[in-house]
């Protein structure tokens, strides 16, 4: 399957296109330019949803304060990440049946300092890799130019469809940051 560039809202039937696909790497890359405070306050997270599109509990929000991470050396990490800033790797065979979709989100933490927005990003892309051979399958369009005052963004989702898996680029922004995403997915804050 050639590398495709997906626009917002576009989806691809992953397991139909690649029948032997057993895992996925979803990577995100951003360029915050000289906005180091923005860079340091960006949080990438995965929201694990049931068939209603809601989390089952707060444990279904996987972020830096409740990680699911292997121990990797710096070299292993560099090799795995390639050009990405953050990645999640999903073993499609191991996803519990009650998990219907894995949603990748990015938000600016609303800390004590001056407020930053995703509109300050110079570029923002998500891509999918096949972990079996590290080939890039899909890359999104640059999501940054459409962003303004948003402080959280649903990047995309990997979801079940007809017994297989699909991926969709979403790119929906939230002015209320992670609170807006939490409300939509039923995350208890």
């Amino acid at each position: 399957m050639p590398v495709a560039q997906l626009k917002r809202g576009a989806n691809v039937a992953l397991t139909r296109e690649i029948p032997g696909l057993t895992g996925l790497v979803l990577g995100v890359h951003w360029d915050a330019g000289r906005e180091t405070v923005l860079d340091q306050n960006l949080v990438f997270a995965a929201v694990l949803c049931d068939s209603r599109g809601r989390v089952r509990s707060d444990a279904d929000f996987v972020f830096f304060n409740q990680l699911s991470s292997p121990e990797l050396s710096v070299q292993q990490l560099e090799r795995a990440l390639g050009g990405d800033d953050e990645q999640i790797e999903i073993d499609l065979r191991g996803v519990p049946p009650e998990i219907d979709r894995v949603v990748a989100v990015l938000y600016v933490n609303d800390g004590p300092g001056a407020r930053r927005t995703l509109g300050q990003l110079r570029s923002l892309t998500v891509r999918l890799l096949n972990p079996a051979d590290n080939t890039e399958l899909i890359r999104s369009e640059d999501l940054a130019p459409a962003l303004r005052e948003e402080t959280a963004l649903v990047l995309g989702e990997v979801y079940r469809h007809d017994g297989g898996w699909k991926f969709r680029v979403i790119g929906d922004g939230y002015a209320k940051g992670i609170a807006g995403i939490a409300a939509d997915y039923g995350m208890p804050l």
Binding site: T36, V37, D39, Q40, N41, V43, F44, A46, L48, D58, A59, F61, V62, F63, F64, N65, Q66, L67, S68, S69, P70, E71, L72, L77, A80, L81, D84, D85, E86, Q87, I88, E89, I90, D91, L92, R93, G94, V95, P96, V102, N109, D110, G111, P112, G113, I178, A179, A182, M187, P188, L189
Partner: protein, 312 residues
């Protein structure tokens, strides 16, 4: 910045892996406190040097052992258990006026956090929901924030009190890199570490004096103790409430009126236990100044210029 190896690990999601490029750490030419090099495993400063802490039997001089704290894990009798009724041999966060520190080495060292084994045990941990309010009392002095509440937004701690002219607040703190000092507007310590752009802790004043924790960097905070000091150094008649607010609007109130007249008091302690912040009402009048409060609570890595000001 954030060290993923220190973040709480989960073993319940074998099908999902998260990889993160370490962010460039901001330089700390003159960090917010003294940074120590240890030749033994680091641990929170213990209160063992304080005669007031003799009743606490948790030995902190031992390197980390299976008896380290974790609220979800069944623990041997000699260790801390947040759920078990207090016994003389164990440190109990639910018992008022105990000054012992917690041994957090297991988590600071990044070992995998054990997973919950019994939902019933977890259910007994006091929680505060979004937009819910909980009042901490001598009978129920603790509440444990979830990992989301401990890692999203900022934790606001504010002294809502009519004695604004005389009451000043601040916080003793210890970071996971062993930096220990205070944030305190009155002594000019507005942030910690003291680099201006990305502090973990901020002291500021809006309507009332506040201490804020930047929860993007929650993994760098080991513990803190919020104190109140009478600016006049004269015994203060305490009133009002220390109000802690989470990003989701959960509120934890610590009423201050039960404090006897005194010029220094420790009001609230916060411990980072495996990614969950345990808040505990102390409401503890200190005989002496801030330096004595620091000693009583085991913040013994701070050197003092006088009884209020650390030497950073």
């Amino acid at each position: 910045m954030l060290d993923p190896s220190r973040a709480p690990r989960r073993d319940d999601l074998p099908w999902l892996r998260h990889r993160s490029r370490p962010r460039a750490a901001a330089p700390r030419p003159n960090g917010g406190g003294v940074r120590y090099v240890h030749d033994r495993p680091q641990r929170p400063a213990g209160p063992t040097s304080s005669p007031r802490a003799e009743s606490a039997a948790l030995h902190l001089d031992r390197p980390s052992s299976p008896s380290s704290l974790h609220p979800d894990r069944p623990a041997p009798p000699s260790s801390l258990d947040l759920d078990r009724p207090s016994s003389p041999s164990s440190l109990d966060l639910d018992r008022p006026a105990s000054r012992a520190s917690l041994d957090l080495d297991d988590h600071a060292a990044g070992r995998p956090a054990p997973q919950p084994k019994a939902a019933a045990r977890r259910a007994r941990i006091a929680r505060v929901g979004a937009a819910e309010r909980r009042i901490l009392t001598a009978d129920e002095p603790t509440v444990t924030l979830t990992r989301l509440q401990s890692g999203i937004g900022a934790l606001h701690i504010e002294a809502a009190t009519p004695a604004t002219g005389d009451l000043q607040i601040g916080a003793l703190f210890e970071l996971t890199d062993a930096t220990s000092s205070t944030v305190d507007l009155a002594t000019g310590r507005r942030s910690a570490p003291r680099q201006p752009r990305s502090p973990v802790l901020v002291a500021r004043r809006e309507r009332f004096e506040q201490v804020l924790v930047d929860l993007r960097r929650c993994g760098e905070l080991r513990r803190l103790a919020v104190y109140g000091v009478a600016a006049s150094r004269l015994p203060l008649h305490w009133s009002g409430t220390l109000v802690v607010t989470t990003f989701g609007g959960g509120r934890v109130d610590v009423p201050l009126e039960s404090l006897p007249p005194c010029s220094t008091a420790v009001l609230l302690s916060v411990y980072n236990v495996g990614g969950e912040f345990v808040l505990r009402a102390e409401i503890d009048a200190i005989d002496g100044g801030l330096r004595e409060a620091a000693r009583a609570y085991g913040y013994d890595r701070i050197s003092w210029l006088d009884d209020r000001s650390p030497v950073d």
